[in-house]
Each structure stands twice: as C-alpha cells, then as structure tokens.
Symmetry: C2
Subunit: 597 residues, 2 copies
C-alpha cells in the first residue's frame, strides 16, 4: 500500500494559473495569502497529511470506531492525531481571527482540506462538521452564543455536529419531528431521535456542540416550521467551564460499508426530561440557516470526490509501476510493468485526468467564493455569488459520482489484489460510496441545479457561464496543434450540448417539471463534464503558452496538454449523448405504471 | 431486506420469444426440454433459490467462511443447503446423463444458474467451479480419470476447483512456476503455491478435486509449457473409496471486499514431498484445455452481472415502493413513496432495463451454445460456434461492468440506508465488484474480443452479426409508433457506431495494435450496449406483435416496449460517443512517458 503524497505542484498550478490566487491575494481581507505563505501552508499541511493522517487511514478502517454504553472510542491514533491537528491550528484555518482562526481565504483552505480528505477521509469529517457548526453560529448565532462557543470550536477543543436526519425524514426535512419546548429562562428542552449523525459521539474533543433541527409546539407544518438549536453534550457554565451532561445520548453507531473510523451515531435527545438547547436566530427559520451553511458543506463533500480519486490514483499508479505481468504489445520477450499495457494506461489516464478535472473546477469555485465575499465591487460579488450557487450542486454531485467511478477503477488496475482488503484499494471505493449520498444525494443536487439554480432565474447565470466558455472556445481554435484542436472540437460539442439542455430546461420547466427532473442527474453529469472540460481546456491553453514562452518544466506542461486531450476524447466526448438522453429520455422514465415494475 | 423472487415470467419471455427455446427443444439431444419440463424446472429452482439460498445470503456474508489450521468452515446453513442442492440433482443439471447428470441444454440451465447467483452468489461459486472441473475432465481426461472422478463430481459429493493463479502469475499465465515431476507409476508430484483459489478448501463435500496448472521440469518457457493436472484433496483408492490425504493444504483464506461466504484460498502443494497429481490430456497443452473450459466459465461469470443486478433491482424496487419521502412533483400535500419521484424512477428504470438487456443477450448466447453442439447442420453449428466465441467476452465483460453499476445504483436508491450494511444493498456492490476481475478482467476480455475474436478473422463474424442487426433495424422502421421509432433511431446509430469501430479495428490492428488496445474496453462496452440493444429491440417488436394480436398480458408486453424505449434513450444512446472515444482516443492514452505520471 502506498502512502499519500500531496500533489503540491498540481495544486499550485491550478491555484496560480487557473483559479486566480495572485488576484485573490490582492483583495481586502485576503492579503495574507501571499505566494510564499500559501506554499508554506501547503508544505506543512502535506507533511501532516502524509506523516500523521495517511498512515492511520487503513488501520483505522480495520479497527473502526467502537460504541460501548453510550461512549464512542475512535480508532487507535485518532486522539493523538486530533490533538496534533488542533495544536497546529489547522482546525481554524479558514475561520475568523476574532475567534482564534487563521482567517485564510477559501482558495488556500481548499487544497489543505483536499489533503486531509485524501489522507484520511474518516478523520477529516470531524473538523468538517465542526466548521459547519461554527459557520451556522457565525451567521445567525446571538452574541452570547458566539461568546460561549466559538473560540473553543474554532480551536477544536470542542467539536460540532449537524443533526438533521430522522428515521422518517431523510431528504425530506419537512417530516422532522424532534420537539423543542420553550422554557422560562429562554432556553428550550428538546426531545427526539436523530440518525446518521457523523461524529455524533466520540472521544476526540472535550465537548460536542450539536446543531439540531427541531420544531416548537405551535410551529407550522413542513419546512417552514423548523428551528435550529445549539445543544451541547456538556452544559457550559457561565465561566466557560463544563457543567453537567446534557440529556442526550448516543444510542448506537452504524455498521457501514465504508468510513468505518468515523462514527455515525443514532442520537436520543430528552429521555430524562429534555435536552437543554438554545435557539439559533429566529424560530421557524432553521432550514433557511441550514441552507446557508449547506453550500460550504456540499462543497466540502464535493472535495471528497476529488480527494479519494487522488488517493486511489496514487495507489493504482504505484501498483501499475511495480506489478510485472505480460509482455509489451510492441514486442520483447519479458513481462513488463503493467503500466506499459494500453488498457492499464487508459485506466490510469482516466483516473488522472478526471482527478485533475475535479481539482480545476473545485479550486475555481473556491476562488469565486473568496471573490463573492471580499471583492470590493458589488457586481463582482453578486456575479461570483451566482456562479458559486450554480456550481455547488455540480461540484458536489459530479465530483462525488466521478470519485466513486475513479475509486472503482483503482480496484480494477490492481486486478485480483484490488479485491483483497489488505491491498487498501477497496477501502477507497467503500469510503467514496457515501459521498454521493450525504449532504444531499446526487438526485437532490440535480433537483437543486435544474430548479432553484437554473429554471427559477430563466437560466441567466448558466447562460453567462456558457458565454464565458464560448470565449475560451474561440481562443482555442487558432491552430495550436493537434491536441488543442481535438480539445477545441470536443469542448465545442460539449458547450453546444450544455447550452441546448439549459434552453430546454428553461423552456419546459413550468409545463413539464417531471420531464426536467427525469433528466436532472444526467444533466448534472453533463454540466460537470463540460464545466470541468472548460477548465481542462484552460489548463491546456496555459500550458501551451508556457511552452511557447520556453518556460522550464517542459515535461510538466506537456503532460497538462496530453491529460486535457485524454479528458476531451474520453470524458468530454460523452456530452452529446447525454444531451440526447436528457432531451429525449423522459418518456421512458415515467412510462410504466407502478404495478408494471 | 427483500428476499429474492425469481423473475420467471421475464425468463420465459426471453427463453421462448427471443432465444428460441421451442426450436432448440427440437434439436437431437435437447428433446427433453419441453415447455412443460422447463416450466417445472424453473419453478422448482425458484423455490430452492427463494426458500433455501436467498435467506442465507446476508447472514453468510456477515459470518464469512472461517479458516482454522488448514480447515475451512463455511457459514451456518451452507452445509445443509449444499446437501439439499445435490440431493435435488441441481449440481448435474447440464452435465451428461452417462455420469449421472440431467443433460439439459444450456438454455435451460442458464436461467437456473441465474437464480442461484441472484439468490446467493457466494454459494453458487462452489457448483460453478465443480462444473468447470467436470468439463475439463470430460473434454480431455483419460478414461480411468473419468471413471474415477466424474460420477462423484457430477453428483456434487465431490467438489472441484480451478488452480491457475500464482502470486507472480495472474493475467499472465506464462509466469506459472508450480512444478510437476513425472513418477514411475505414471502419476506426477506437484510443488508450488496457488492463490485466489475459489472454494480451494471447505466443508461442503467429501473430497475436493483440484485442477492445477503446472510445469514439468523440461517444459518450454511461457504458455506452451503448461500442463493440467488433477490433484485430489484425498487420494482415491482403486475401489473408489477415499484414501489418505494428499500433500496439499490451504494455508489461509483472503479477507475480501465481498463474496465473504465463499472461501478464497491460498493453496500449498507438495510441502511434504509432493502432491500426487494426474495429467489431463497431454503435457504442455494445459492452457489450451483451460481455454476450452474458459468459455463456459466466462459465460457463467457474465451471468453473475445479470444475477446481482436482478437481486439489487428487486431490493431497490421494494424499498422505493415503501419509503415515504417528499411530495409528488405534480402536487398534493403529502409525502409519497419515492418511486413516484422522477429521479428514483430513472434509477429503477436504469436498473430494470439493463438487467433485462443482460438477460436477453445471455439467453440468446446460451441458445447458440446449444445450437453449436446439437444442430444437425454443420454450417449452423459453425455459425453458432463463431457467434458464441465472439459474444463470450462481451457477455462476461459488459454484463459484469454493468452489474457493478446497477448494484451501485441500488445503493443510491436507498439513500443513507444503502450505506448501512444491515440494509443489504451494499453487499450486492461488494459482491459484484469481483466479477469484472475473476475469470479474466474486463481488459483481458476486451483484448480477447478485439484480437482473437475480431482482428484475427478480419471481423467476419462481427460483420455477420451486424448484418443481422441491420435486418432487424429495417423491420423496425415501419411506423409502429413513437416508442418503436425512437428505438429504431437509437439502434440505427448504435449499429453504425459498432460497424465503424469494427472496420477501424480490422484496418489498423496490424499497424497500430496499441491504438486498438487503448480503446478495447470502451469497444467492448459499445459492443455490449449495441448487442443487448438489438435484443431489446427484438423484444419490443415481439411485444408490439403480441399486442397487435390482442394477446392477454397487455400490461406485461407494454412494459417490454417501454423498457426497451428507456434502454434506447438512456443506454444505447451512448454508442456514438463511445465510437468517437474508440476511434480518436488512443492519442491521449499513450501520450505520457512513464515518468510524467
């Protein structure tokens, strides 16, 4: 099994030459993100990821988190790694300095988070959930709540969770039943059961701060009657010290396909009279607050698709270079490393190109997140906000679906050894398989994309993005050689397919919403493939220029062009077929009566 | 978790209306396969599959097979199920009556084997391996070997295995090192290690008969120096009773991603002086014999793709009908079963249509297997043999790759519950994941397809098959309504894509074999999609005729048309894009130097 090595050079390429780090570092509030500091952060993070987190990934998967009478023990090594993690200040990397964070822009924290998730996905979920809870409090928490919780949570001394799901309420949060009853002292008492709570109970932090969705007794039905509460594991005394245990417990943890080290808890609130909770913001607006946070959480899960792909690719590559089997097709009597065989090469290129494609798209969106917050120009902020809103479901849905595919290909490269757990390749598929489900399934992302993000605004942002893509297409088509010509042709067909589908969605959403939803997941895939193809084409163009300038790193830039070429022929090439499926395929989806299944 | 229910009506439809069971039952040697008998066999098999094998599937996965000091204990219930299985005569269903089998044609045994594999894949592997070993002995074993082993193996009292792989010799059997030394008494003594031996050791049968590839001391290097040996676990006395234990042992079993109940053994031969073995056929022709058997084994593994898809589909369907979540898009205030939501419907149709597509193709090939053996006309036999040879890698490679996809979609239909092992959906993905690897990876199938099966004969058989497809295309295009028009259009594009790729392969194989191999797996996928699309179009046409005739089962036949329509728009629609990838995509595959990865 190979240990993870952060692909720093690839990350720098995307940050600097595609995602606009140098410009972002000039924005007010982002000035700390100098090239020097960013390189230093990446190097330190890479050390921690490779040296501490990566070696724990496999043993922790084997051991798993263990439940015993309500307490959860994380696998050996996790406690110490978490201690080092928070001591290193990593927990607050992107969180505000006023609460002890580093305040670095998203474009810097994104590659760092990518590293944590590549090195040890299960571990990374604890700080990810804490960050989500911190962001909810930052956005809508009262000053006393912020004062009580934020410093400890930013430091990581206390961890956070998000409690949404209940047995009858998964994708459909309208069905949430957990009750919250107002008390004379301003607090609430909560009663109910939550499931699928990632790190709902564990031994890494001194306290766990649960963000819980619940209903007050006279709340309206449906999603407009849900409120958000802070429910700490240990009640916090006025002086900030930990008081008694709150009335909540972890009833069990799930036996899952993957992310074994990350405890997925069933939580019971209020068995002994009610768990003490504190309202965040206003009553009945909990879902709205959750949705504000959701962008960040969905983006982070999108990164998991990229991260697992990178890890699976590194492992498959290492095996393909070492494993000797069969002769080279071009002759020679001896068996050679399997990387010489075209089909193995195809699998590796498929893994490599899609991993790079996911990275370009994710980092470009991260850059837009910084611009939407920090750009001095209001219109620029709005433009970037619209782009981010549009792309979040794409990054989440497409990257995670692709991550599952890449992890599965990683097994295939190993042949029989890939099926043996000892090899470690299978873990990546097991771990990846949750990413298309949690924080909203691919279907939920796709509905968000076609409904809220496209149809609702008549496709305005999508059309603007397509216009930008067309500008690149025009730039590419200038006789820069066979590779760029092939990329241009494939991109052109892809943009055409995407554009037709956007028009189709806008045209029929009102009259035939089911037809749009019947093709929403294929459309999300088309959008991801084309948007990342656009970024890969940009990468190829940049590389072409660097080579023309006679820059060093010839081999590096040449590989960027060839990888984009592969992506164009093997991935982007699927776009026209997807267009046909989306526009024509609804009839077959809804044709059968339920009893015909 | 839903128990498996054999889709008998669907099976009968394919057997009778697509695969030609009524005609096959008229062939000499197949006369027993009357409609009445086949229905009876299917019903009895369905009972056994649902009542005995299916309920063991999940508990056996949880328990796994256990190794202890060389002995392997299969999960609770397996021993009893196996006893019932062989007592019911199921082990010899397709094996020759002269050794106690039922001698039924492949077209009858195929749906039965599909049932075993749907109900309990791990269990099904033991009789599958026995069948493989029996076929090797039937084909090339000496009369004394046949007399000693076959009756017991056909009955299932003794099981069989295939021992090919060694640590350094996986796909590349040229690297086999196990030695076999000739003895004065005509037997051999074997020394060596074999890995990945399915049911290499277990407690189901009284004896285990290993078919082992090994080299004699003066054998030529490479694949032309490999011989095939029978190596029994217990030496068989002259009177047929069991003698002493042979010098072989199971050193360990693997901890795998899936098929936990099926022991995958590391076998050590000859630690104490040499395992007694008996040569099958002639020295140095072992690989050739293995390849004769391989067609049957690869076909059987191809069925696994179909079988797991059927099981995963049934489970997802049952969940989708029960799970209440979110309102219907067309309005109404209450949450509805998720089968009403278009994206869930799309996933179910994708599972259903691809499962049915795999079944049409597999049964049609099974029918051709019977014709190639039993047809009185020599040319018909040859034509069917060529068709079978061409289609085996397609059935194996495409069905298993599709099976992995369908099993993964089954998880997705379950949302978060799909990731919890208790639900049972995840097991199907874990189990399916081996099928694209064992009995030759998809890459190996694809190389076989483009090289031995197409290029070597100038594409003759492939072109003949395409001609048959075109005849159907012409028949379809006669204004039979929107669904059949859409199917015709998609099939026409698919046939065109396939035809162009066959021409391209034939044209450049000699001059640029690497380019062909770079696209061989996408080509295999294209071939599978189009060939099954052809069969689905036949199914739609048959259904259209039945409806026009005013037959009963209107709903059944309508569903066949709609399902073919979905397949055409969502699966077959991918063909043109695959053609582009195959024909243009080689440049990107081989462009990077090894150090650029």
């Amino acid at each position: 099994m190979s240990e993870y090595k952060a692909p720093i050079r690839d990350m720098q390429f995307v940050l600097n030459e595609l995602a606009g780090l140098p410009d972002i570092a000039k924005l007010p509030g982002c000035e700390e993100a100098t090239a020097e500091l960013v390189d230093q952060v990446l190097e330190e993070a890479a050390k921690f990821a490779s040296g501490v987190l990566s070696p724990l990934n496999k043993p922790a998967d084997e051991e798993g988190s263990k439940w015993n009478s309500g307490a959860v023990t994380t696998p050996r090594g996790f406690k110490d790694a978490y201690k080092q993690f928070i001591e290193g200040g990593w927990n607050g990397l992107q969180l505000p300095p006023e609460y002890g964070g580093q305040g670095l822009p998203r474009i810097v924290s994104t590659p760092v988070v990518e590293m944590w998730k590549s090195a040890n996905l299960s571990f990374s979920l604890c700080p990810m959930l804490t960050t989500g809870a911190v962001e909810a409090l930052l956005l809508r928490g009262s000053e006393p709540l912020k004062a009580t919780y934020l410093k400890k949570m930013v430091a990581g001394t206390w961890a956070g969770t998000m409690n949404l799901t209940e047995p009858q309420a998964g994708s459909d949060l309208a069905l949430v039943k957990t009750r919250a009853v107002h008390q004379a002292d301003g607090s609430y008492r909560l009663h109910g059961q939550k499931i699928f709570i990632t790190y709902g109970e564990h031994d890494l932090s001194e306290n766990i701060i649960h963000m819980v969705l619940a209903r007050t007794p006279d709340a309206p039905e449906g999603v407009r009657g849900i409120s958000l509460f802070v429910v700490p594991k240990f009640i916090v005394n006025k002086d900030g010290s930990l008081g008694p245990r709150n009335d909540l417990k972890c009833a069990s943890i799930e036996h899952k396909l993957g992310i074994h080290a990350s405890p997925t808890a069933v939580m019971i609130y209020g068995e002994k009279g009610g768990a003490v909770g504190y309202l965040v913001g206003e009553e009945n607006r909990g879902l709205e607050y959750m949705f504000i946070m959701m962008n960040a959480a969905r983006f982070a899960v999108g990164l998991e698709g990229l991260s697992i792909s990178e890890r699976a690719y590194q492992q498959a590559l290492s095996y393909a270079k070492e494993r000797i089997q069969s002769r080279d097709l071009s002759g020679g009597g001896k068996a050679v490393p399997i990387i010489r065989h075209p089909d193995v090469r195809r699998m590796l290129m498929s893994m490599k190109s899609q991993t790079e494609a996911m990275r370009t798209l994710a980092y470009v969106v991260a850059g837009a997140m910084d611009r939407m917050r920090h750009h001095p120009d209001k219109e620029e902020r709005a433009r970037n906000q619209a782009f981010v809103d549009l792309m979040i479901p794409v990054v989440k849905g497409w990257s995670t679906e692709t991550g599952v595919e890449v992890a599965s290909t990683g097994i295939q490269v190993h042949g029989g050894m890939g099926f043996i757990e000892e090899t470690g390749a299978a873990q990546h598929l097991r771990d990846a398989r949750i990413t298309t489900i949690y924080e909203g399934t691919t279907g939920i992302q796709a509905n968000d994309l076609v409904g809220r993000k496209i149809a609702r605004e008549g496709g305005a942002t999508a059309k603007a993005v397509i216009k930008t893509m067309r500008a690149l297409e025009a730039e590419l088509g200038k006789g820069r050689g066979e590779d760029l010509d092939a990329i241009e042709a494939s991109l052109s067909a892809g943009i055409g397919a995407l554009s037709e589908c956007v028009d189709w969605i806008v045209a029929i959403y009102e009259t035939d919403v089911k037809a749009v939803h019947a093709g929403s997941v294929p459309f999300l895939r088309l959008f991801g493939i084309v948007a990342a193809g656009w970024q890969m084409a940009r990468a190829a163009l940049v590389a072409h220029r660097r080579l023309a300038e006679g820059r060093s790193e010839k081999s590096f830039y040449e590989a960027k062009i060839k990888t984009a070429r592969f992506y164009a022929d093997h991935v982007l090439a699927q776009a026209p077929a997807l267009r046909n499926t989306i526009v024509r395929g609804a009839a077959g989806v809804m044709a059968l009566a339920e009893e015909q299944f």
